[in-house]
Structure formats: C-alpha cells, structure tokens
C-alpha cells in the first residue's frame, strides 16, 4: 500500500505536535509495509527531496509570493503543494492508494487531489480552531473553522487522537461519529534512553537541593502556565523547588512579570524553545512534569514525560483525562484550580516511593499502548478499510 501524506510541518520544521506525529507515524508505517510519500513545506538547510528510514519526503516551495497573513500564505502554499504532489504522484511507477491530510493547513491541496486523481482521502484532525480559541471570534477564525469542516466533510474517514476529540469534532462539524476513528498519538521510547551527564546537565537548571518542576508547552492561555505560576509560592511553602518553563508564547512576558510580583522570580526559569535533545534530557532530570491545560486535544507532552520516566501531574481535561489513570500512571487535578494543582505537585514531590510507583506504571503503559508500532498498526487498519470500500465503489479514476 502506498500513501501520500500532507503536512505543513515535518522535521526539521517543528512548530507544534504535527511534525513529530507524522515523523513517528510514517517511520512505523514503513516497517509494516505501508510506503509513504510526505509532502511538506521547505525549511532552511533541509533537502528538497530525501528518503530516510523508508520514508520519502518532498519539501515544496512555500514562499512563492508575498502574502499578508497566515490564511493567505497557507492557501498559496497549498497551490504549490498540490502542483508538486500532482507531478510526483503522476510520475510514480506504482500508483498511490490513498491521500492522508493532517489538519486544515493542507485541506485545499489534499481535497483538490482527491477529486482530480479520484483517490480516497483520510484526514487527521489534531485540534480545532474552536477549541484553540475557545469559540470563534472573527472572520479569520471562522474561515479556519469552515476549512476544517470542509476537510472533515470531504474525508472518507477522519482520525482523532482521543475520545474527547472525537466528541468535539463530531459536535463542532456536525460529523457523524461513525465516520471518526480514535487513534492516540504515539511516542518513541528509545529516544528517552541513553546516558548523559545528569548531574552537570541538571545544574544548568537548578541547585542540587532544589526539586525540578517542569512545564513544557506553548505559553498561551489554553496551556495553563499561568496556573502553575500561581502555584509556585504555595508549593515553595512546603518544598524547595525550581520551576522550569519550556516554550514560547504571547503570555511569556506576563508570566515572568507575575512571578516577579509573587516574589518567586528566582525560583522560575523561562527557557524559551529548546532543541529536542535538551528537552528530552530535561524530562529525564525532572522530579515532576506538570501540564495544567484548560484545553488539550491529546497532550503528547504527557506521553513524552511518561516515556522519560518522569512522574506527571495533569489537569483532568481533554486527552489528558484518557491518557492518565489517576493514582496509577499519574496524578489528575481539577482543571483551572490552583489549590488542586498545588496539591497534585506536592503529592508527588513529598512521597518518593509514590513517584517511583507512578513512573514504573506510566512507562509500562506507554510501551503497551502508545508505541508508534501500535499506532501505525491501527492506522493501517483504517487505510485497509478505506481502500476496500473504495475498491467496491464506482468512484474511480476512469471514465464512467
């Protein structure tokens, strides 16, 4: 089976979680006999064409014209992506069986090719504009929402990463639930092993006597970093710790100012973006990883922490609610509640054997349920179902 996959981000271009998702998925699919061709945006220093681990990648020129905003840039980029993909697919000796789009950002290219090539399209919706913005407030957001709806309408089947997202996508786009498959994100545990100088690395972030409380995520409203800042003095009243915030976002200055106002500036460290290697090592030296999101379609960061054997505290919301089993693989706290968040952090930091118990259970759960091999195998089943239905139908790339 051969699949053409569309994504606006793919390593080394990493903006959010989609790049890593498509990277892990395509490699695992390749191991079980599904050939993938990835169409993505160019990135400085990355080759226009490459083949690694059985995955072919084509990076398209995404800045052919000046554009005033993201939506316009995206659609012009889609034109470019659609043209490139048409040429590549046309030149293949073995035909492509299926198109797979990730997010609204590649809707136009994938829908256009679906109709001109008459190939079935599957779409993964990682998050929605409605969820990201907590409603639709202007034409830009409404346009993105309608583009998402268009993609789910045109897709043969839709993949969501959690039951929470399945419910949400079904509601937001009036999409029949029967058309949606829930397949979680995956994580590659092998990326979290290997030796490094833990002591000297740790000393870059905290004093030896300080516990490390790690937050990873965009510093935006829905990720709840402001709740963690509010919890800092409450935690410090019981235990000595350093709060490390990895990520960037429009709330960064506001969060730093609030930490200063609370008198805990020297106990917080805003690192900005870090490279992948540093991030993985940070997970491994963290005493607890905290994700107090208000909206979380899945929460890949929790899986990464679990794979790195760091105990996790999450808000009981969205995908986190499904990934974490309270008191077994992590601690769940009430969303948007500083008291509860403080309690959860202290529960882990004050009981070492409890923390070790959570770590062991979590690591086992990641291996059993969230390895890319598991995810790829489930995704392949969706592909096979679609291809089988397509074969039986009359809609094909031949004259009728």
């Amino acid at each position: 089976m051969k699949v053409a996959m569309f994504t606006w981000e793919y390593p080394p271009k990493i903006v959010g979680g989609i790049a890593r998702h498509v990277y892990g998925l395509t490699r695992a699919l390749s191991k079980i006999g599904v050939e993938t061709i990835v169409f993505t945006c160019e990135f400085p220093g990355a080759p226009r064409e490459e083949k690694t681990d059985g995955v072919r990648v084509f990076r398209v020129d995404s800045y052919r014209a000046p554009t005033p905003d993201l939506a316009t840039w995206d659609l012009v980029m889609n034109q470019s992506m659609e043209e490139t993909a048409a040429e590549i697919i046309d030149s293949e000796n073995e035909p492509v069986d299926l198109l797979h789009a990730h997010e609204w950002l590649v809707a136009k290219a994938s829908i256009g090719l679906k109709h001109t090539l008459r190939l079935p399209l599957v779409a993964t919706i990682h998050a929605t504009e409605y969820g990201r913005r907590n409603g639709l407030h202007d034409d830009n957001e409404r346009m993105i929402h309608e583009t998402e709806r268009w993609l789910t309408f045109e897709a043969w089947r839709v993949i969501c990463c959690s039951s929470f997202m399945t419910d949400h996508v079904s509601w937001a786009f009036s999409l029949p639930r029967q058309k949606i498959d829930s397949i979680p994100n995956g994580v590659d545990v092998t990326e979290f092993v290997g030796t490094f100088q833990k002591g000297s690395f740790r000393s870059l972030y905290a004093l030896p006597e300080e516990k490390i409380v790690l937050f990873v995520g965009r510093l935006v409203y829905e990720k709840g970093a402001s709740l963690l800042v509010e919890a800092v003095p409450r935690v410090l009243a019981r235990i000595n710790a350093k709060f490390v915030f990895v990520g960037e976002g429009y709330m960064k200055d506001q969060l730093i100012a609030r930490a200063r106002q609370l008198g805990v500036a020297e106990k917080t460290y805003f690192t900005g973006y870090t490279d992948e290697k540093t991030l993985k090592q940070l997970y491994r030296v963290a005493d607890v990883c905290v994700f107090p999101s208000l909206y979380e379609p899945f929460g890949i960061v929790a899986l990464e922490a679990m794979a790195a054997r760091a105990p996790v505290v999450v808000a009981d919301t969205g995908g986190f609610s499904e990934v974490i089993e309270h008191d077994r693989t992590g601690v769940k706290v009430y969303p948007n509640n500083v008291e509860s968040l403080t309690w959860g952090i202290l529960r882990v930091l004050t009981d070492n054997s409890y923390a070790k118990y959570l770590e062991a259970n979590a690591a086992r759960k990641v291996l059993d349920e969230y390895s890319w091999n598991q995810i790829a195998s489930r995704t392949k089943k969706v592909y096979e179902r679609i291809v089988e239905e397509y074969r039986k139908g009359a809609w094909k790339a031949t004259s009728t």
Partner: protein, 213 residues
Amino acid sequence: MHVILISWEFPPRTVGLISRDTEKIARGLAKSECKVDVVTWDDRLTRTEEHTEGFRVHRVANPVRTHVNIVTWALTLNTELERIAADIIYKSDDQAKLVHASEWICVPAAIQLKKTLHTPYVLSLYSTESERSLHGGSLSGAITYLEKSGSLQAAKTIVDSMTRASLVQKIYGVPADRLAILNVGTASISKLIEQYRASLSSQGLREEPSDTQ
C-alpha cells in the same frame, strides 16, 4: 472538441466583461459543434446544473463561506471548480478536451487539471495585476504570482492587444509563440477555435470529430 470554460462570472451574474464574453463563446462553440461545459460560481449553498442552448452550465458554491480577502476566496473556490471540471473530464468521451480559464481567479483549477488529468488550458487575461494595482502590496503579490504561474503554464495566453501582449511577455516571460492576440468578446468563434486547435497540437493532442449534444 470538448471545451470546459471556467469563469468566476456568468450570466445572470455580470460584474465585468468576462460574464458576457464567456456566454458568447459558449454559444458560438456549441453552434460550431463543440461540446461545451461552463463551470462558474454561484453564491448558493448547493450546486446547480442547467442545459441551455446546446451547452451545460454548472454553478458551484464556495466550500468555505467566510474569507479574509479575495485571494483566499478564489483559492478555495478553485478547488470546487476543479472538482466539477474533473468530473466532467472523467465523464467525457475520448474527444480532445481543453480548458479555457478566464483571468487569474481561475488559474489554480486550470493548472491542476493540466497536471493531474493532462488537459491543456488556454488562459484569457483581460488585464494584468500590474495595470490594475499600481501600488502593489502583498495581496497584489499573490495575485501576480497566480497570473504569472497561470500564463507560463498555459498552452496559450490570450490577450486583447499588442500592448498587453508585450507586457505579459516582458513581465511574465511568456514566449511569443504561446501568446495570442484576440479580443474574445468581438472576434469570430472560428478564430478562437483556431487558437484551441493550436493549443491542442502544441500538447501533442489532436482534435477528433465531435458528437453533437
């Protein structure tokens, strides 16, 4: 010959010259025993199809209703124009097929039909963005890109004057042998068919005797 006319306006919607000219071309081609389909926009929620005066008109809605500017509007509309045109091509018999797109607004669909279904296209440019928008701007840059890309990939770019032909040649680098000077609104239909035939033969395609509808 089977001609698919793609235009963003068609009567009763008339904004500029394109609407009237496209209707005149459709009528003329139908009388010349060409098979003709018109694919155009209509601001309704459902697709409509009319069969009139020997040709068919397919009106499609934009799949995305809310937009931030005309470029985003045009690009999502084009996917729907592309979808209907592809359906027409798949259902068409073996006779030579050609797309005639009007203006930059219909360029994306024409390019994709060429790349995926190997259907050549001619492009009518009534004016260029450099003439319409003297002060430029990023939106203008995106329109210029589509106009340039469309005229460079067209089998023929049709303009109405020597001056405009020189301009298209100069700013977009379109070779002279792929430019035609013809006022599609006033020229005889036989002159347009000549350009269509030249476009087909330049792509190695030959016109077969057509069936009347």
